[in-house]
Symmetry: C2
Subunit: 110 residues, 2 copies
């Protein structure tokens, strides 16, 4: 969740390729960045770099746009989903912590 240089999340694809992969115009892709729906990295020279995860994200955005959903709403949904993931993460951490405690001090029934 912090150090993940995997194939899916490494930002290595230039905008032209992303355009081909998604069917979106470069204009659209840049605009969705402006609306904070996507967050490419940059090369030294300033060119955008995307990951496969970004490509998938863009395809989802394209689908929602086709349904007439506005970028602002899409952003709200994304933020909501992010909160949800955080909540899930918190629960898992608690579970694990509980597990650690039980392992050390024995299992208290009830």
């Amino acid at each position: 969740m912090a150090i993940d240089p995997s194939y899916k999340t490494r930002k290595v694809i230039t905008i032209g390729i992303v355009s081909e992969l998604t069917g979106l115009s470069e204009r659209q892709i840049r605009y969705y960045e402006e609306r904070k729906l996507i967050f490419p990295e940059r090369t030294e020279g300033g060119n955008r770099k995307y990951s496969f995860a970004d490509v998938e994200q863009l395809i989802e955005i394209a689908n929602k746009r086709e349904e007439g959903i506005q970028t602002y709403e899409i952003r709200q949904e994304m933020l909501k989903a992010k909160e949800k993931r955080k909540e899930e993460d918190r629960k898992v951490r608690n579970q694990m912590l509980r597990g650690q405690i039980n392992a050390r001090f024995g299992i208290q029934k009830e």
Copy 2:
């Protein structure tokens, strides 16, 4: 083995990024292609596109070059390894075929 548009094998990375990822110069990367050690695709405009698998391949090549192995030898090793994979594949297919036959006509012991 034929239709695999996965993150690992999709050719989507330009040579500049590959250079950063591998630590090799663009000159070296192009030369290894000339020596048939790597096979990028091309954009419409003629620019090279590599996959993550290519990047890994290049790193292996770089390691072997550091050991002083010549590109010709590296190519020979690659071809040998490829033959080996084909052989393995052939065996697996035979196993599966045998399985099919047994499933239909019963298992002949000995």
